[in-house]
């Protein structure tokens, strides 16, 4: 009985706690805002010094600490030709070979020729600069991906505007039906006409809402598969398995990650679709089938990232718990999992990101369809997701339609980038916390 009362007290205490947390949050935001002007001023005050420092550091990386004139000339030559490669590739590709040849020649001169005639320091110089260029190229790649996707997507966005996210309209009045999902949910009576999705390229209607919703459905099913299985699998690998068992299971999970998505898709297309058609659906393809396959594909991500998180929990914490007489399971449940909780949630976020961006399995298993699932939560329906819309439509569509696909790409890219950033933040915070406790 006492336990029951305690339970009830806890349950009723929850609103109070949430309120307290929110009040605390408001206070913290207030403090932050109050401190903001001072911080901004400080930032501006130290800005020149920091710019100077950055410039000096850049100079040191590019030309060395005490550059001689030949040093500067050589480094500047490499720098110029590398920049030239990028710039000419961006604006006039017929010119690209010239700086490219110059870059290769200069690199060979610095790497082989100059050291051979006694100026051995030029090899180090060349190496440093080339590795710097490689680093900059990596960052530039991310920048270019972002820029060119958004640039290409800007056209259709400015042409169609909020049409791209349009919701169904009333057939007669032409008014947007903002609460359309209410009749999908069975709350409002189903409207007379079966609602389209707004995707009708022949009439230049390009709403991506239905595909986005398809993505959500597939991701949810995949998360329901990959989340529990993945976390349990990670627990097994990190906490329970002996070394020998681990050396079998871990590569097994890795191989699961290595199977190409098109092979998963082909199996799904040939086997799972057939199975669902025979067993419980009239049509073979369904969100639930696709989600299942995508979930298995996302499983390795969840397993390996949460396994890393669990392994990062210091052994001293576990030892303490076991020394207190707790069983291994209690230790896992009350020590390891809570300590690694942020890492595990990062794993699930990353797994969901994988599921969100998975293309070929979905495209292979659900060949198309332009409408919303009906009712919205009907996972047994089939339709396009953002990724499968891109993959299926791209080859055969008109230019205008292809441009819209870039908007779908931008949506995917942004959502997944945000998820990845959150996951990274959560992981870092956990690392810091665990290191602090050590």
């Amino acid at each position: 009985m006492r336990r029951t009362w305690a339970l009830i007290l806890v349950v009723f205490g929850i609103p109070g706690r949430i309120l307290g947390y929110l009040r605390g949050l408001a206070g913290r935001i207030g403090h932050y805002l109050a401190a903001l002007p001072g911080r901004a001023a400080n930032y501006l005050r130290t800005l020149p010094a920091r710019i100077w420092r950055t410039l000096r550091a850049t100079k040191q990386v590019l030309f060395g600490t005490e550059p001689t004139v030949p040093d500067v000339v050589y480094s500047a030559g490499l720098l110029l030709s590398a920049t030239g490669v990028v710039v000419t590739f961006l604006y006039d590709q017929s010119l690209t070979p010239y700086p490219l040849v110059a870059l290769v020649l200069l690199a060979v001169v610095g790497w082989n020729v100059l050291p051979a005639i006694g100026y051995s320091k030029y090899q180090a110089r060349t190496a440093k600069l080339l590795t710097l260029f490689a680093t900059v190229a990596t960052v530039l790649t991310v920048g270019f991906i972002t820029f060119f996707l958004f640039e290409k997507a800007w056209g259709p966005v400015s042409t169609y505007g909020d049409e791209l996210l349009a919701i169904p309209r009333h057939r007669e009045t032409g008014q947007p039906r903002w609460f359309f999902f209410m009749d999908y949910l069975g709350v409002l009576p189903v409207s007379e006409v079966r609602l389209g999705s707004g995707w009708d390229p022949s009439n230049a209607h390009y709403s991506l809402m239905a595909a986005a919703w398809g993505t959500v459905l597939v991701t949810l099913v995949a998360g329901a598969v990959a989340g529990p299985l993945g976390v349990l699998g990670a627990l097994f690998i990190a906490e329970i398995a002996s070394n020998r068992v681990r050396s079998v299971v871990k590569p097994g999970v890795e191989i699961l990650a290595g199977i190409p998505s098109i092979v998963y898709g082909f199996i799904g297309f040939m086997v799972i679709n057939q199975f669902t058609q025979d067993q419980f659906l009239d049509a073979g393809s369904s969100f639930v089938g696709a989600g299942l396959v995508v979930g298995i594909m996302a499983l390795p991500t969840v397993v390996s990232v949460s396994e890393d998180a669990l392994s990062a929990v210091p052994n001293s914490m576990r030892d303490g718990s076991v020394a207190m007489g707790a069983t291994n399971w209690q230790t896992m449940k009350s020590i390891s999992i809570p300590a690694a909780f942020s890492g595990i949630s990062a794993a699930i976020i990353l797994g969901l990101g994988r599921a969100l961006g998975e293309t070929m399995a979905v495209a292979a298993m659900m060949a198309g369809g332009n409408i919303f699932a009906r009712p919205l939560y009907d996972v047994f329906d089939a339709g396009a997701t953002l990724t499968s819309r891109i993959a299926i439509t791209y080859g055969s569509a008109s230019d205008a339609t292809v441009d819209v696909l870039f908007v779908a790409g931008v949506m995917l890219f942004s959502v997944i980038a945000v998820m990845s950033l959150i996951a990274q933040y959560v992981e870092r915070r956990m690392e810091r916390k665990l290191q602090g406790e050590q």
Partner: protein, 909 residues
């Protein structure tokens, strides 16, 4: 423990009480019913199976189960695999008892599979309930907690919620409240499924949380599993039963899918409950219960992995291997490097004494025995002149889109001919392998100025010949400028001919001289051979490898100068090379034989010399193959031929699609396309990735910049592949001739490979201990030299492993290829990258139109089959999927093995 270990040979100890044994049996039963759930789910055994068929199925299962348990029991009795755990023993006995019981039930009762599974669920429910009640009454000695816990309660609550909603929605479809909005739209609030759902959830949750743990486990499990079992047993749900969730949802759940799902759920839940009871509830019980579920989950994951791979292999193997033919000699040549690897695996001593135990030695010897046996088999085929054939059948999709079964065979022929490419690859691998074995024998033994002069002159000669080759390579395109130059070029051609002939012949002569120099160390009379060999490793090295080098450059020169000097019907170059190979082999055998009786110091040198001679032998064979490959003239000696074309014929990967043929041909264009994609992406991404990793780890200050790069690469890693494809379409294609092309696809895959390489290389570089860097710096070595000669070599295994795994990943990427490479079905010609290189008069002086063509690739091949719909051939799809899977998984296997190997090596060091 130790007593039981040595003497307790009864299968179950007497003091293990009956309740424990019953619970062990129940656990075994739940495992079996989980397995049966899977079996019926995939319809391997139908739910309607009954009578004789059902009995015989269970008899077969019984045979397997009893056999497995009996073997383990016998091994345990003999103390080979001592099983001391009472639980494991109990479960073993339980498996036998359960299977016996099931077989008897199946034979005695007039039931079908579905009813039998329902009965099993009822039995499981009863036994969990019984254990709970016995424990509650204090008859069964346990240690329960006051409550089963919130977690279990919530889990049962959720299950109750779902079942309640389904049941409620079915039986009370139209109980609801209708509210009418002011504008006249009615709003229906449906209680039909809501109330039963909440009710059942609350009931199950409360039954779990409120009572003491034993009852709190037994009651919800019994209610849930018993309920599931009852609806099946009493025929409420039978295989013919159909249920639709609602008129809008076009799913019809049949008993075929629902009953296996019930069985799976019931088995997991009751195994959890039984395991808890078996360990006496409490903290220990919870651990046992949870572990069972976690183990089950791990087992399911592995099963999925194995099932996928086996399934694809089973489906695709026959199509992928149709018409596979290989010459026995070719097989032997292919096996040679493998043999070297397994021998080295068997020789590798590992750090611990454990490795000397018999089992481990056996483990190391088995690969040698297997490969050696195969090689001997091939050799016997070749010697007897007896070909070998395994006939099988495969299905193709003919023109009228029907499946046709064709006869084909896996054949080993005895034609003594080996293709030049295979010899090249095998020879290079062997040469490299043996070169690693002997390391550097420089500065060992006698040094003489004359020898050094020879070495220098060989180098100069090779350099000069290479220069000549480059001149001849570049000269053709510059000739056709005007008439005067054309006339001149005729002279140039003649001069080139004469010069080439002289140079190649001269190189061959010089090589003979060098061979004599090398052979003289061991083959002439005078001092004891062992001593002379020990004193002259340098002479051996310069003699053998100088000859290899000269001959190799001469072989390159031959096609460029258009000459092929020969004496009679024999070409000079391969004859000299073969003589070199023979000499190398003789030296290797002699030194190896001498090493057996030599003093330890001499033995070391002799063994290394033997490896060196073997390496040279392989290199001479490579030169011969190179000659054949470049001049396109086969070379035959003593019956064996190194041919321009070989005897390996694998239609699936070596021929393109044959339109209108009965035999389907293959997917060579896709294989070639994937190879070039992988090569291009690797060439682009690996230098960038490794370079960036070096900069970030060794040069950059760890701060904001490195943090930024890390965030950027991690984001790049999680960016979906189709977005890379869109990027390629938006950025690369407009800049590369505006069409889908191989080059664009290479670059896109390179962009995808970049973060993988960067992340793994950084990890590898970071894991190099700072002591290495400090030690190097303390010796006065500059930063870059430290990186180059200390840090990078130490990190290289990690970097290579990362690259291999990354390449495995991008090799199977499909989505970007659809966007930038184009996808085609039934491609009839493969992209010719090597032949596409041309020299042009403006930078970058080389041009390759083949790179700007679209191409097929393995993943897009599979996709093309899918998107072709009914006109795509499923068997071809499976074949292609199998090849793709094999390619990708071999990358993974190599990567994982390499990582394990290097990690173990690091651990022991």
């Amino acid at each position: 423990m130790s007593d039981a270990y040595a003497q307790d040979r009864s299968l179950v100890r007497e003091d293990s009480n009956y309740i424990d044994q019953a619970l062990d049996t129940t656990i075994a039963l739940t495992t079996i019913s989980f397995f049966l759930g899977l079996v019926t789910m995939v319809d391997a055994v139908g739910l309607a199976t009954s009578g004789g068929a059902l009995t015989s199925f269970f008899l077969e299962l019984l045979a397997v189960g009893v056999g497995g348990v009996a073997v383990v029991a016998a091994l345990s009795y003999l103390n080979v695999v001592p099983i001391t755990s009472q639980r494991v023993r109990g479960i073993g006995v339980g498996i036998v008892i359960s299977l016996l019981g099931l077989t008897v039930l199946a034979a005695a009762l007039p039931v079908n599979m579905a009813t039998l599974l329902g009965l099993v669920l009822l039995i499981e429910a009863a036994s969990v309930l019984g254990a709970g009640i016995l424990s509650w009454q204090g008859i069964f000695d346990t240690d329960p907690s006051p409550s089963a816990g919130l977690l279990a309660g919530v889990a049962f609550g959720v299950v109750g919620l779902i079942i309640g909603a389904v049941v409620g929605g079915t039986f009370f479809p139209s109980i609801g409240l209708t509210v009418v909005f002011p504008d006249g739209t009615p709003l229906v609030i449906d209680f039909g499924y809501l109330l039963p759902a909440l009710g059942l959830a609350g009931l199950l949750g409360a039954a779990t949380i409120l009572p003491r743990e034993d009852l709190g486990t037994a009651i919800p499990v019994a209610v849930l599993v018993g309920g599931l079992g009852a609806v099946v047993v009493f025929g409420t749900i039978d295989p013919g039963w159909v249920w639709s969730p609602g008129e809008d949802i076009d799913a019809d759940f049949t008993g075929h899918i629902v009953i296996p799902l019930f069985v799976l759920l019931g088995s997991v839940v009751s195994s959890w409950g039984t395991a808890k009871a078996r360990a006496g509830y409490g903290a220990v019980g919870r651990q046992f219960g949870s572990y069972l579920v976690v183990y089950l989950n791990a087992g399911v994951m592995l099963t999925i992995m194995v099932a996928i791979v086996t399934f694809v292999a089973m489906k695709g193997l026959t199509y992928a291997l149709h018409g596979f033919t290989v010459g026995a000699l070719t097989g032997l040549v292919l096996l040679a490097p493998l043999l070297a690897v397994v021998v080295s695996w068997a020789r590798t001593p590992a750090g611990t004494a454990e490795w000397h135990s018999g089992a481990r030695q056996l483990f190391r010897a088995i690969p040698v025995a297997a490969v050696g046996g195969l090689a001997a088999f091939l050799a016997s085929l070749q010697l007897r002149g007896q070909s070998f054939e395994i006939p099988f059948q495969f299905t193709v999709f003919n023109q009228s889109r029907q499946e046709v079964t064709l006869d084909t065979a896996f054949t080993i022929t005895t034609e003594p001919r080996v293709g030049t490419l295979i010899v090249l690859i095998s020879g290079l691998l062997l040469a490299w392998y043996f070169k690693r074995q002997y390391g550097s024998l420089q500065s060992v033994g006698d040094q003489s100025d004359r020898l050094l002069a020879v070495e220098r002159w060989v180098g100069i000669a090779m350099g000069a010949m290479t220069l000549l080759a480059v001149v001849l390579l570049i000269s053709p395109p510059t000739i056709t400028v005007d008439v005067f130059v054309t006339t001149l070029s005729m002279y140039v051609d003649t001069i080139a001919d004469t010069l080439g002939l002289a140079v190649v012949a001269g190189a061959a002569l010089a090589a003979i001289g060098l061979l004599v120099l090398a052979g003289e160390t061991v083959l002439s009379v005078g001092k004891p051979v062992a001593e002379r060999a020990r004193e002259n490793p340098d002479r051996l090295r310069i003699g053998l490898f100088g000859a290899v080098g000269l001959l190799a450059v001469a072989a390159l020169l031959e096609p460029l100068a258009g000459v092929r000097p020969s004496v009679g019907s024999f070409d000079i170059l391969p004859v000299v090379a073969t003589a070199g190979a023979a000499l190398g082999l003789v030296i290797a055998v002699m030194t190896a034989a001498l090493a057996r009786t030599a003093t330890p110091a001499t033995e070391r040198v002799l063994r290394k010399e033997s490896a060196m001679a073997l390496s040279a032998t392989a290199a001479f064979v490579v030169v011969t193959a190179l000659h054949v490959a470049l001049t396109q003239v086969s070379f035959t000696l003593a019956g064996a031929t190194i041919g321009v074309t070989g005897t390996l014929s694998w239609p699936m990967t070596m021929s393109p699609y044959i339109p209108l043929g009965l035999e389907p041909g293959g997917i060579m264009p896709a294989v070639v396309g994937t190879v070039w994609l992988v090569v291009g992406a690797t060439l682009f991404a690996v230098p960038l990735g490794v370079g960036a990793a070096v900069f970030l780890t060794e040069y950059a200050e760890q701060g904001k910049f490195t943090g930024l790069v890390e965030i950027a690469t991690n984001s790049l890693w999680s960016t979906p592949s189709v977005v890379f494809g869109l990027f390629g379409a938006a950025f690369l294609i407009p800049r590369l001739d505006n069409s889908e092309s191989l080059l664009a696809a290479m670059l896109v895959l390179g962009f995808m490979l970049l973060p993988l390489v960067l992340i793994t290389s950084r990890e590898a570089l970071k894991s190099v201990p700072d002591e290495y860097r400090d030690a190097s710096a303390a010796l006065g070595v500059s930063k870059w030299d430290t990186v180059r000669s200390v840090v990078l070599p130490a990190a290289m295994p990690g970097v290579i492993t990362g690259v291999i795994l990354g390449v495995g990943r991008i090799a199977g990427e499909t989505a970007p290829l659809i966007l930038v490479l184009g996808s085609t079905l039934n491609e009839t010609s493969s992209v010719d990258v090597l032949g596409g290189f041309r020299f042009v008069g403006h930078p970058p002086f080389v041009d390759n139109p083949a790179l700007l063509e679209s191409s097929a690739a393995l993943p897009t091949q599979v996709w093309a089959v899918i998107s072709a719909g009914v006109s795509g051939s499923p068997s071809m799809g499976w074949g292609s999927a199998f090849i793709l899977l094999a390619v990708v998984l071999s990358f993974y296997a190599v990567g994982i093995i390499a990582r394990t190997y290097f990690r173990r090596k690091l651990d022991y060091e």
